[in-house]
């Protein structure tokens, strides 16, 4: 059975957050990532729902992005970057400390081939938010939809994982996972691929980062399996 995860909730208040967690469980999600300036503390998550900490960085320059990453990387399980300029998008795609990049529709930018190539090397994923997709559909914004579709094609071509999230800031903006996946068929994405974007792809990021933050991680490919005792040097 699929384990669905909504990797992008951005509640505006604590009350909304609690309502959204309950609703996520009802809709069939097993995990949600809550974006905020502070990791959610003392939060009573409903049983059966994994709550993941996430931060959305919105830097204006590549330098500001690097400074923010130094500060927050070890505090959050998922680090996402909102790309509003090409310089930031390139730096985010190249930096292995970034997990997810996304492009707000009003930025006029999209996930181009150069960024896809960089992201494929650094292990960064490309994210699409439902709220933004729905707003493009409501306005019949053909150019905006084309940008999203091109971003997905570039990601596919270079082997970059694509993530589909709700981007909801209130409970009414949340949708059931299979409905969310079905929406991508509009952009000529196979349903099975779209389902992976909301289950396997985001979970692999979360699991990878949890391993890194657990203290067992030493370097890429190196893991601490035990301490003390020493090794017999004879």
């Amino acid at each position: 059975m699929r384990r669905f995860i909504d990797l992008h909730l951005r509640p505006r208040s604590r009350g909304e957050l609690e309502a959204m967690l309950g609703k996520a469980l009802w809709l069939g999600y097993r995990g949600v990532a809550v974006a905020g300036d502070q990791p959610p503390r003392n939060l009573e998550a409903p049983e059966g729902l994994d709550v993941i900490s996430r931060i959305d960085l919105k830097p204006n320059t590549a330098g500001a992005l690097k400074a923010s990453l130094r500060r927050v990387r070890r505090l959050y399980e998922v680090v996402a970057v909102e790309c509003r300029s090409k310089a930031v998008a390139r730096q985010a795609a190249r930096d292995h400390r970034v997990d997810v990049v996304y492009f707000p529709p009003d930025s006029g930018l999209w996930f181009d081939d150069a960024e896809a190539r960089l992201a494929a090397q650094s292990g960064c994923a490309y994210e699409i938010n439902l709220t933004e997709l729905l707003s493009l559909m409501r306005q019949s914004d053909a150019r905006g939809l084309r940008r999203v579709a091109e971003g997905i094609w570039n990601a596919y071509r270079r082997g970059v994982p694509v993530i589909l999230s709700s981007g909801a800031s209130e409970p009414l903006e949340m949708r059931e996972p299979r409905g969310l996946a079905s929406l991508l068929t509009l952009l000529d994405i196979e349903l099975e691929d779209a389902v992976e974007m909301i289950s396997d792809n985001p979970w692999s990021i979360v699991e990878r980062n949890r391993r890194k933050l657990s203290g067992e991680y030493a370097a890429p490919g190196v893991r601490v399996i035990g301490q003390g005792g020493g090794v017999d040097a004879r």
Binding site: L27, M137, R138, P171, E173, R175, G179, S182, L183, T185
Partner: protein
């Protein structure tokens, strides 16, 4: 010429948000299909609102089985009816109306 047998799918859904009337909801569903997939999608899907319980805010819509993902997408894309913000969530899908009604009946306390 081989003719494919017409098979149906029935989707039970829950309306969240403000109160809506059956007629408005039916229009919103057809409007959403038409907006996303055009007239071509409308005749392929043939969306029909079979039932809508205004008290429990649960409805049943029928479509052609081949285009089930299109139907789900159209329901997901609805964000308002007559200017009132709403959301539709698919609860169950079934090949027969009787089986769907039975499933909803048993699951209604969780909804």
């Amino acid at each position: 010429m081989p003719v494919e047998a017409l098979r149906r799918r029935y989707l039970a859904f829950k309306v969240e948000g403000e109160t809506v009337k059956r007629r408005d909801l039916e229009e919103a569903i057809k409007g959403s299909v038409k907006r996303l997939y055009g007239l071509n999608g409308l005749w392929k899907l043939e969306p029909t609102l079979i039932d809508f319980d205004e008290h429990h805010r649960i409805g049943i819509v029928r479509c052609n089985h081949r285009w089930l993902p299109w139907m789900r997408a159209s329901l997901t894309a609805i964000t308002e009816v007559e200017g009132k913000p709403i959301a539709l969530h698919v609860l169950r899908v079934s090949g027969t109306l009787r089986a769907l009604r039975r499933k909803i009946k048993f699951g209604i306390k969780d909804i």
